[in-house]
Symmetry: C2
Subunit: 244 residues, 2 copies
């Protein structure tokens, strides 16, 4: 008699031991961006443990099988532990895996990418030394761990696309914010200047932002109108890209 012919799924699961199979090291890393003082910044953490101890790398870690019900839970938990809050915008970026990217063996990281206002986690980040914002334009001065530079590039490219056809980058700003600031975030992401008029028209047409009615003095010059995010912000897609 061949036992496998009549084996039930219950029997199979009772005898299943994952340690009998080759093990893939699986982690979740996040690329968190913000905007501060006319610069795009990305959050990095200095690694305390081997491998790559001492290097700056993306905030990430193992899945906690008891606490995390989904991959997004892991990303939320890790980011909250580094910033004090869950970012207002997060999406899955992609997975990066291979035999050589981690010296411990075949590994996969599921990467998320997120946006947060600089002020939302200012005090939390100032209270520690191992977590810092870095100017994304100066990452070449740093030697990052693993393949995290490539993952950050993928995150930038994702938000570059979003800046072309959505107003999602508004999540990088503290409310209320001016359209001048938001346009600047888009310009940094896209890598070119944008027409004021075109940008304002899109904001009005979309309904993805709400005018608060207040104004803010901008140093010298006419004060700017202030806006906040509408609940539909994340869903709105322009059918045509901005930018010449």
């Amino acid at each position: 008699m061949d036992g496998t012919v009549t084996e039930t799924e219950r029997d199979y699961l009772a005898g299943y031991d994952p340690r009998e199979f080759p093990i893939v090291l699986t982690t979740v890393d996040s690329v968190l961006f913000t905007y501060h003082e006319d610069r795009l910044k990305v959050l990095l953490v200095q690694r305390a443990n081997h491998p790559q101890a001492g290097r700056w790398a993306l905030p990430g870690g193992y899945i906690d099988q008891d606490r995390d019900a989904t991959l997004e839970d892991t990303a939320h938990r890790v980011l909250a532990s580094k910033t004090g809050v869950v970012p207002p915008y997060i999406e899955q970026l992609g997975s990066f895996g291979g035999a050589g990217r981690d010296p411990r063996g075949w590994s996969v990281t599921i990467a998320y990418t997120a946006l947060i206002p600089f002020q939302a986690c200012l005090t939390h980040i100032e209270s520690v030394t191992d977590t810092q914002w870095f100017d994304v334009a100066r990452l070449n001065e740093l030697e990052l761990g693993f393949d995290h530079e490539a993952i950050i590039d993928a995150g930038r490219e994702r938000f570059r696309q979003k800046a072309l056809y959505s107003l999602v980058p508004a999540h990088a700003l503290q409310e209320p914010f001016s359209l001048a600031d938001l346009r600047r975030v888009h310009e940094l992401l896209i890598g070119m200047t944008l027409s004021r008029k075109s940008f304002i028209r899109r904001v009005e047409e979309s309904g993805a932002l709400i005018e608060t009615g207040d104004e803010a003095p901008s140093g010298r010059g006419r004060p700017s109108k202030l806006y906040r995010r509408s609940p539909h912000l994340d869903d709105y897609r322009f059918i045509r890209n901005i930018g010449k």
Copy 2:
């Protein structure tokens, strides 16, 4: 003396054993679409082993740590084993993970989505009984394994977007093909009819397709011009979406 203070990365790796940590079951699954007889089809495989033995599910499997250097290698290997060839278009779709999606425990699948001409794997698929094309409009009649229905939906949505701003769906057609056929593929993906004129204009403007110079009789009526894919097809993006 505290050994960890002076421990080198080499020492750490020598003592590293992945079995000491909680194990996440990691697999790669692919959503392969094609077009045949005015229908969108997706490739499914009937599961031979537990869990979910007997159910139809996405082609997928474990990473072969000796053969696969990257995640895409795994997707290629599995798809080639089911169709006889590597599909001409494949991209990473996203990762689906959680505590409850596989009865064996916490699991992650890295999903790819791909396109192939129906004829490219016709003979290979006809030679086996456990691998079949299914009409994507009739998947509700099937009880799929795991969360694979949700993954297929994500793949459809990905290609729905691509159909709005690219000509990537041309990979689902055998060369040479007519614009009528390609437009039909786009219409099925988008879920609405498209203007002939708009579609032809985009093809001409993009340079992503090359006219072969031949024609094909289409039953009755004027014969249609035939096209093949240009090498730039995958890169081209329209700045504006098609469709009202």
